[in-house]
């Protein structure tokens, strides 16, 4: 950003910064930060920056790696707001390995696995009470 300012009666247009000699030598630079729009929520926790409202401190959570395992039918893994370095969310490995066509009823499909298990027909003789399983 830049400003139109007056110093000692002289007008200066589009001034983005003011350079002033430092007491110990060198130059101190002061900037017009009106053009910055970063907010605390846009900035990681622990970091600071200057915006149009001056110095701000970050408030965005740094969650690091975000991973989880879904181990129950109703299980969920919540991805929290904030920064993540990445991660994976998986279904419990043993549940996946147990899920095969032969362990799933024919006509059912779970997570892309089509079941092939059939239930034997059972009948009972009315007189002898003998069960017949085919």
């Amino acid at each position: 950003m830049a400003q139109n300012v007056i110093i000692n009666g002289v007008t200066y247009s589009n001034v983005p910064e003011v350079d002033i000699p430092k007491s110990g030598g060198g130059t101190a630079k002061f900037f017009d930060t009106a053009g910055a729009d970063v907010t605390s929520a846009d900035l990681l926790t622990g970091k600071t920056a200057y915006s149009s409202s001056g110095s701000i401190s970050g408030s965005m959570a740094n969650n690091g790696s975000t991973s989880g395992t879904i181990s129950t039918k109703a299980g969920t893994v919540t991805i929290p707001a904030g920064y993540t370095s990445g991660g994976t969310v998986s279904i419990l490995a043993s549940a996946v390995s147990d899920l095969t066509a032969s362990t799933l009823l024919s006509g059912k499909t779970v997570l892309g696995v089509a079941g092939s298990l059939t239930v034997p027909a059972i009948s009972q003789d009315a007189t002898t009470k003998i069960l017949s399983i085919s």
Partner: protein
């Protein structure tokens, strides 16, 4: 941050900002930003801030993306707001 500066022969200590009258009225403030610790990767994409060297800088941090392969969801590096 603040600076020790010399102006018209006089020294001023711990000066965080300089105010100058604007041509249209009001005051323009010029700020020392050398204590900025944020870098582009710490700021959300689409937002701008002043880096410690006074450069107006655009944030580079992208939103994380989620991809499902098989029974696994893969989350990439980034800001997972809204995921």
């Amino acid at each position: 941050m603040a600076q020790n500066i010399t102006l018209l022969g006089a020294s001023y200590s711990d000066v965080p900002a300089v105010e100058l009258p604007k041509t249209g009225g009001g005051v323009a403030m010029f700020t020392d930003v050398t204590d900025t610790t944020a870098t582009a990767s710490n700021v959300a994409r689409g937002k701008v801030f002043y880096a410690s060297n006074g450069t107006l800088t655009s944030g580079l941090a992208v939103s994380a993306t989620a991809t499902v392969t098989g029974t696994t969801l893969y989350l990439t590096d980034g800001f997972p707001i809204g995921v």
